[in-house]
């Protein structure tokens, strides 16, 4: 099983005695222990040198380079669509589009032009930003990158991308809509994490809890949802346990009952991100842990099920494997986990534009290639497409001799694009998709830096592809 294999491999990695000793020394002196000239310092020094040489020769686009390195303007589509959300203005500044996906640069400013306070973000625990194509979501997959503030902290930039895996139509001519729920502050909760996990005694429910005439399996069946709602209604009418310092009236442990085969079930009313009081939004309440206060023994929930209709929903956590009965309730505690956002604006916005052709070059190829990526591969490449976001090679035949994990990654072939001026852009990882019936497919690679962080490709500068020692002209 993947989980067991991953745990085994990860367990082989440890801090080590020296690393632990350095931390203990740091704690003792309450300051960092000097650890010699680190790799980060070396990288910084080398990058400064490189920047000195190249900075005058390249035109930069504000924003993108902070996320993905040098960004030639030719690959960027100017969008400039704005919308007001509360005290803020969100602007979809620019997009980079190709046939297989897109990336977006968004900027958030205060309407009054002032300095941003806290860490305004489009993504929180309950708030989310996403992109749709012609009203459909998701489009393959999407990702985002940590926001970056301008030096004067009057603008914060967000970068997100989306990619199709194949099957979907090209983005060209499609209406793309970036939408977000509002703005949250992600810098408020670190010292108040306790508020997202509350532990309360179940003693107040000892008199109302009861065993129901349904097994664990029956409780989880959708056909019994109405019966479960009625049971919870009867129990919660007698007593509930208030939760959350933010909104104790709405956050509650509503009921505890036991299945006929002995599983404890703890019910929390489900906030479903709808409780907005003052500045705070809480959601996704779920009972996660039962504790026997006499022994300290704990049980994690095994499954959680939502029941009821909007406005009257519950979240039911089942603790199968926990041997405690309702007689133990006076000594039991439940930990409820919920997520909370500090809301800066609760006004959703949508920003739409029509994607153009995208900036990419395509060419026919007739090349047999060989490379190693966790094993030896050979392929017949029939075409290439180069955009700022990726290089895609199409093939009509690919064979892999097997998986060679022992020599990975030492034997992996180095892929790179060679620019006309001789500089190179590293490429990683080769993601391969092949149609099992036809044998055709594609190898997709993204530009990366020495840390495998995403970098953009300049299609106008590319001269050739290097696959190990093999050079393939890309004209």
């Amino acid at each position: 099983m993947f989980k067991d294999d991953y745990r085994r491999d990860m367990n082989a990695l440890a801090l080590g005695e020296q690393g632990k000793e350095e931390i203990l020394q740091a704690i003792e002196k309450k300051g960092p222990v000097k650890r010699g000239i680190g790799r980060a310092v070396l990288i910084a020094a080398a990058l400064c040198a490189a920047l000195t040489v190249t900075a005058l020769a390249v035109e930069f686009t504000v924003g993108w380079e902070s996320f993905w390195g040098r960004t030639p303007k030719s690959v960027v589509s100017d969008v400039r669509v704005s919308a007001v959300t509360g005290d803020y203005t969100l602007t979809l500044q620019e997009a980079i589009v190709d046939d297989d996906g897109a990336a977006f640069l968004l900027a958030l400013t205060r309407n009054d032009g002032g300095v941003l306070k806290g860490e305004p973000n489009l993504w929180g625990n309950n708030y989310y930003a996403s992109a749709e194509v012609e009203g459909n979501f998701p489009y393959g997959s999407s990702g985002r990158f940590d926001p970056i503030f301008s030096e004067d902290r009057k603008t914060v930039y967000y970068c997100m991308d989306m990619e199709r895996y194949g099957g979907e139509e090209s983005l060209t001519g499609k209406t793309i809509t970036v939408q977000c729920d509002g703005v949250v502050d992600t810098d408020w909760s670190e010292d108040e994490l306790v508020m997202t996990r509350e532990t309360v005694s179940l003693a107040p429910l000892a008199q109302t809890a009861r065993q129901v005439d349904m097994s664990y399996a029956d409780i989880c069946k959708g056909q019994n949802a109405q019966a479960i709602m009625e049971i919870v209604g009867e129990i919660s009418a007698q007593a509930t346990i208030p939760l959350t310092r933010i909104d104790p009236k709405r956050g509650q442990v509503s009921a505890v009952f036991f299945s006929s085969d002995g599983c404890p079930v703890v019910v929390v009313n489900d906030w479903n991100s709808t409780v907005l009081q003052g500045q705070y939004l809480i959601g996704y309440g779920i009972a996660t842990t039962l504790t026997d206060t006499r022994t300290g023994e704990q049980w994690e929930y095994k499954s959680a099920t939502k029941r009821g209709e909007p406005g009257n929903e519950i979240q039911m956590s089942v603790f199968n494997g926990c041997p405690l009965t309702y007689e133990d309730l006076p000594y039991m505690e439940v930990t409820v986990s919920y997520s909370m956002d500090k809301i800066l604006s609760d006004q959703p916005v949508e920003l739409s534009f029509v994607a153009g052709d995208g900036y990419q070059t395509t060419m026919a190829l007739d090349e047999d290639i060989a490379f190693n990526y966790i094993g030896d591969c050979t392929a017949h490449v029939t075409g290439a497409s180069i955009s700022a976001l990726r290089l895609e090679l199409t093939f009509d035949h690919l064979e892999r001799s097997g998986w060679d994990w022992e020599n990975h990654p030492q034997k992996n072939t180095q892929w790179a694009l060679v620019n006309k001026d001789g500089t190179r852009v590293l490429l990683f990882p080769p993601m391969i998709r092949q149609d099992e019936e036809t044998g055709t497919g594609y190898i997709r690679l993204e530009g990366v830096d020495e840390n495998n962080d995403r970098r953009l490709i300049d299609p106008d500068r590319v001269d050739a592809l290097l696959i190990g020692d093999i050079r393939i002209p890309l004209k």
């Binding site: 294999d5 960092p32 962080d453």
Partner: protein
């Protein structure tokens, strides 16, 4: 927090923090840097007492991701390098990784963290989302994307990764 309690937490959670930092940064040196910073922050900013071991662990996991993000942010302004220069900057030592861990480390870093929290730490989607400061939808999306890529890398079936 006093030094004795912080020292105890280093013993108990030092490797937990280091492994998440490794999953995020992809190399031992950065992971050790992040681990040291996390425990210094624990000394300065943590609550006097945690409610439980889980609370302490979740606090440490969350701060680990924040410190690792700071490390990346500090390096964000990068420019293109000649390949030779980039190769000189590669980590001098390579960790001997098992094949499954190597496959995970081949993923983009934004996909490695949810994989680690979900499969190694055994957290639920909701807990993973809380630690990462993301929505559950975002975590599900990333796990789905990571599983897709791992299936390719490891040639595993759907049921073996879900």
């Amino acid at each position: 927090m006093d030094k004795h309690e912080a020292t105890r937490l280093v013993e108990e959670y030092g490797d937990t923090v280091f492994r998440l930092a490794y999953a995020k940064t992809g190399n031992r040196h950065d992971a050790e840097d992040v681990t040291q910073e996390v425990f210094l922050r624990l000394l300065r900013k943590a609550p006097e007492h945690f409610d439980s071991g889980d609370h302490a662990k979740h606090w440490l996991l969350r701060v680990t991701l924040q410190r690792a993000n700071d490390l990346f942010r500090a390096r964000a302004r990068r420019q293109e390098l000649p390949l030779e220069a980039a190769e000189e900057l590669r980590a001098p030592e390579r960790e001997e990784l098992g094949e499954t861990l190597a496959a995970v480390m081949a993923l983009p870093k934004e996909l490695r963290v949810p994989i680690h929290l979900y499969y190694y730490e055994g957290l639920s989607i909701a807990q993973t989302a809380q630690i990462m400061g993301k929505s559950e939808g975002a975590v599900k999306t990333r796990l789905s994307r990571a599983r897709g890529k791992l299936r390719e890398l490891l040639m595993k079936g759907e049921e073996e990764l879900v």
